[in-house]
């Protein structure tokens, strides 16, 4: 029974991860572009258990890639210690007003999602 619950929990988290969204803003001010991204993701550490005592499987974002065209601007590697729905702010000086920036995340189960935005003033 515990195994079945674990599989159901894992599948439900996979669904959550598959439909999770990225809210991405890129603002250019005083020569610096500030990227604010909020990813809807459960970020389960794998150390918690539910009320019935079944361990909740680990599900967290492993890496976030920030690309400017095909050039990698930044790669962020996260651990399970980061909180749910991670909000990350990066200030970079490379993309300028009107450039297109893409963000792609990948979690420990292999799910991924990408969002592209234009740098605004």
């Amino acid at each position: 029974m515990a195994g079945f619950r674990r599989v159901v929990a894992l599948l439900s988290y996979r669904v959550v991860a598959a439909v999770s969204d990225i809210r991405l803003k890129a603002r250019y001010r005083n020569g610096i572009t500030e990227l604010t991204l909020r990813i809807d993701h459960p970020m389960e550490s794998g150390l918690r258990s539910d009320r019935s005592g079944t361990a909740i499987p680990a599900l967290y974002i492993k890496s976030i890639d920030v690309l400017h065209g095909n050039v990698a601007l930044a790669t962020l590697t996260l651990s399970s210690q980061v909180s749910r729905n991670p909000t990350i702010v990066l200030q970079l000086n490379s993309p300028v007003l009107g450039d297109r920036v893409s963000v792609k995340w990948l979690d420990n189960l292999g799910e991924s999602n990408t969002r592209i935005t234009t740098v605004k003033g």
């Binding site: 610096i32 601007l73 930044a74 962020l76 996260l78 210690q81 749910r84 909000t87 990350i88 000086n93």
Partner: protein
């Protein structure tokens, strides 16, 4: 054996078999720092700093901001935490020439020290901040 002696013996024994994997104390951070920096001397710079709340409730979500925008030629940032199951919270690799500021939120499980490392062409820099436990939500100790 009386009850009090027996309880003392059990307490002492349970202290000896304490699980080290869930007890990443400052030694774990030091080992990780040494492994990451290859035992390089760490320097401090007034323009490289970490912002953490001084006090927070346990199991709260704590904002952490690492600012390395004034350091030149930063290629990598690390955020490390002691007394938590995972030592390395986040790592940011940036293209040369960028001036990164990283802000993330961390689940706080125990009072801890959060350390930030920055790798530059001129060596490694370190900054750290301590988060103490807030006993009540009203701001009292």
């Amino acid at each position: 054996m009386d009850r009090r002696r027996w309880l003392k013996g059990v307490a002492a024994t349970s202290g000896l078999i304490w699980v080290p994997a869930l007890a990443n104390d400052s030694t774990g951070v030091e080992k990780t720092v040494n492994a990451l920096t290859d035992n390089t001397r760490l320097r401090k710079h007034q323009e490289f700093f970490i912002k953490v709340p001084g006090k927070a409730l346990l199991s709260a979500v704590v904002p952490v901001q690492v600012s390395a925008s004034m350091l030149r030629n930063v290629t990598r940032l690390h955020v490390l935490i002691d007394r938590h199951p995972v030592v390395e919270v986040a790592r940011l690799d940036v293209a040369p020439g960028t001036e990164p500021i990283l802000a993330v939120h961390i689940r706080l499980e125990k009072p801890c020290r959060i350390t930030a490392l920055a790798k530059t062409n001129n060596g490694w820099f370190q900054a750290s901040g301590r988060v103490a436990e807030l006993q009540s939500g009203c701001g009292s100790e």
